[in-house]
């Protein structure tokens, strides 16, 4: 059994220790806001927080996450009220939306460290892929969120 704390809730799960955290979240715990995009830590659709750090859950063995505090998009806010989520709506950022939860989790980790990020900070931290091409609105939404907190 592996003990996981996800969005403040403790779970004891019986899976192989090398199962990637992404699939534990999605298939075992039913938290489907975290997405599968590449399986190789290339696109960032699977981004979650591990003790506050943005990590790509598609390559992380669940055993590595055991005992750490995991936050997914479902735990970022109860009702979509995180400053980034509000800014994302204000800027009408998502198109297809598939990558956006990963984008928001990456941005949230950035804001937690740097409440007033520069464009260069955003470039460095948000290496996720958006195939719809919403990057300009993502950048604008992060700056809006930074102003509001």
């Amino acid at each position: 059994m592996i003990a996981l704390t996800v969005n403040g809730t403790k779970h004891n799960i019986d899976v192989s220790s090398d199962m990637r955290l992404l699939w534990v979240l999605r298939d075992i715990l039913g938290l489907t806001g975290t997405k599968f995009g590449c399986g190789m830590s290339l696109c960032g659709a699977c981004t979650v927080h591990l003790d506050g750090e943005a990590v790509r859950s598609c390559v992380m063995p669940v055993s590595v996450a055991a005992g750490k505090k995991i936050t997914t998009i479902e735990g970022l806010s109860e009702d979509g009220s995180h400053a980034l989520q509000k800014a994302w709506v204000e800027h009408q950022t998502p198109q297809c939306g598939y990558c956006q939860t990963g984008m928001i989790m990456s941005a949230a980790a950035l804001l937690a460290k740097k409440p007033q990020p520069t464009d260069a900070d955003i470039d460095e931290s948000l290496t996720n892929i958006c195939r719809c091409g919403t990057y300009a609105r993502i950048r604008a939404a992060i700056h809006t969120a930074a102003k509001s907190v």
Binding site: V15, M19, R20, W23, V24, R26, D27, I28, G30, L31, T32, G33, T34, K35, F36, G37, C38, G39, M40, L42, C43, A45, T72, I73, E74, S77, D79, G80, L84, Q85, W88, V89, Q92, T93, P94, Q95, C96, G97, Y98, C99, Q100, T101, I104, I122, D123, E124, L126, T127, N128, I129, C130, R131, C132, G133, T134, Y135, A136, R137, I138, R139
Partner: protein, 727 residues
Amino acid sequence: MEQSLKMSRRSFLLRSATVSGGLLLEVTLPAYSSAETGTQTAAESSSNGPEVTAWVLVNPDDSVIIRVARVEMGQGSFTGLPMLVAEELGCDWSKIQAEYASTSEHLRRNRIFGTMLTGGSRSIRDSHEYLRQAGAAARIMLTTAAAQQWGVPVSECMAANSLITHTPTKRQLRYGAVAAEAAKLDIPQDPPLKDPTDWTVLGQSAERFDIPDKVTGKTQFAIDTKLPGMLYASIAHCPVFGGRLKSVNADKVNKMRGVVKVVPLEDAVAVVAEESWWNAHQAVRALSIEWDFGENANVSSDSIMEFLREGINLKKAPVSRDEGDVETAFAAAAKTVEAEYYAPYLEHATMEPQNCTVLYTDDRVDVWAPSQNSEATAAVTAETAQVSIAKVEVHKVHLGGGFGRRGLFIEFVRQAVRIAKTMPGKPLKLIWSREEDIQHGRYRPVALVRMKAALDASGEPTAWSVRQADQSIFSAIRPSLIKDGIDVVNVRTFADAPYAFPNIHMEYAMRNTHVPPGPWRAVAHTHNPYFRESFIDELAHAAGQEPYQFRRKLLAQAPKDLAILDAVAKAADWEKSLPEGVHRGIAVQDAYGSYTAAVIEASVNAEGVLKVHRVVVGIDCGYVANPDSVRAQVEGSVVFGLTAALYGEITIKDGRVEQSNFHDYKMMRIAEMPKVEVVLKPSGGFWGGAGEPGVAPLAPALCNAIFAATGKRIRSLPLSQHDLRKA
């Protein structure tokens, strides 16, 4: 009464369906009678308030549900289409919610919602008339119901803001209070529509309905489907297109965690597992598979290039356009310019990989799939499961990207149904890995083009000849689009070029390979505009003329192309000088009924590193439903177009795709994002598309800027294959 109501609905929609020509699905949709499923009246079909028309449900509390037939894949149709209905309905926008029209109900009711195919930038432009009429019809029915209740002439009543007012007495009734009676009335035919100058909903930016759930993770994409006792499948296809499965040894995987079974298909093997897709995928990777690669195993990008070149060199090829006499003009030319251009295969890489969840039981088959065409999903499911289509229920969901990948080709549905049918009662979710997605796509075809033009002594263009050699998307699936050996889609941009050359001759050599082609966002308007607009730039340079003004002269008879070109040049400060080292390129293109142009500012440093500083891109799509959505589509098109120009390339070796994931099939990221300015210039009077046209001018505008910066003419893509250091 019920009978006449049905007839009237049917004729209303039958007429509507004819509006939506263009790309229709290539599957036969058997109409089936109500006897197969039990008669269902209109009122029963909705879970909410009464259905006033098929598109409009009005609840007792005045809230309104507007049905959406097309699918939301990021382009904003789930909001833009209801805006069309709402404009004529006369209710507050705030009262409106959108819901997907049920595919099974659609089929039961004789395709009452028109086409459900989402593609070709057609959602708004092909349904604006019947959707506005649906709103107008509902408003008239609600007004009539109120007039009947009051016993007054309808002409004395008016509807606005969800209220019907009897003007002489100022009595009022709410929409919700009369909806049940309105639903019993005949649907008026050809209701008059508002003059666009009176619009209050259309043309105003509305917040999209789908966005709030997309920022919380609540949106359920097909890949997020979760059913009790669900099993998972991962799949490996024969790496070589057209190859076959010879044998599979499952000894190693049968004891792996969760593995339920191995399912061999003709050209693929799937493993079904419990607990998680992870288990299924680990097992697929551990399989020992022997493939029969077949004769295509010898094909490479080099051999494909040879094949294209043969097409270029053929003595004769079908003529796609012939005006004047190019031979005489070339003989008299003071100067000729000749160039050959190439564009590679491209894959869609939708962020949500291909997937499909199926629950097959003896009574019915339920399907969840990221399909751009839910009618095709139903038809493919019925055909594969060998059940009546009346027993298929397609659950409509938003798509994690589409870009043309999954409109005409939904083989993942077929696969999932086949696997699920071996396990009745057990829900099954098939997911392709990203590697399978990149290596088993439906690719933007390769193309090689040779162009030649003549200039007279004063630098005026006198002749233009084009030989295209490329792969047809539609020859295998829509023979009606092939005319005398010419793929009418593939020749667009050339055969319909607005440039006024006095003599034009164009030929098309179809070069079909074993690599499966498909429509990729903007289809032929991806590579052809790159070829054409780069070549026009070459010609301007050869004529010693400035490229913007050179185009202006050639577009004198094409006022809409000219207007968007002018608007973009003005917005981009074309006449103003730029900082040292920064250079501009320009391009113009009409596509999908809209007009676009772009100016790109770029620089190339001494090491040959390209930087895109600013992109000004304009669109005239005639009328605009939701302006912010059109802007968003054009912004997205910039990234899609630049990604292809910078990095996009699928290559073939030993008959298979060499790229496999985002490390070798690169995408632009936020750090590379230039400043983008969208020039929205809706000139009215027509309805053009918005999802794809913006892609068209990007690559040529960029390559023309690179030429201005370096003197290097980029005659093949992607740019990552070029040394951009100054010669």
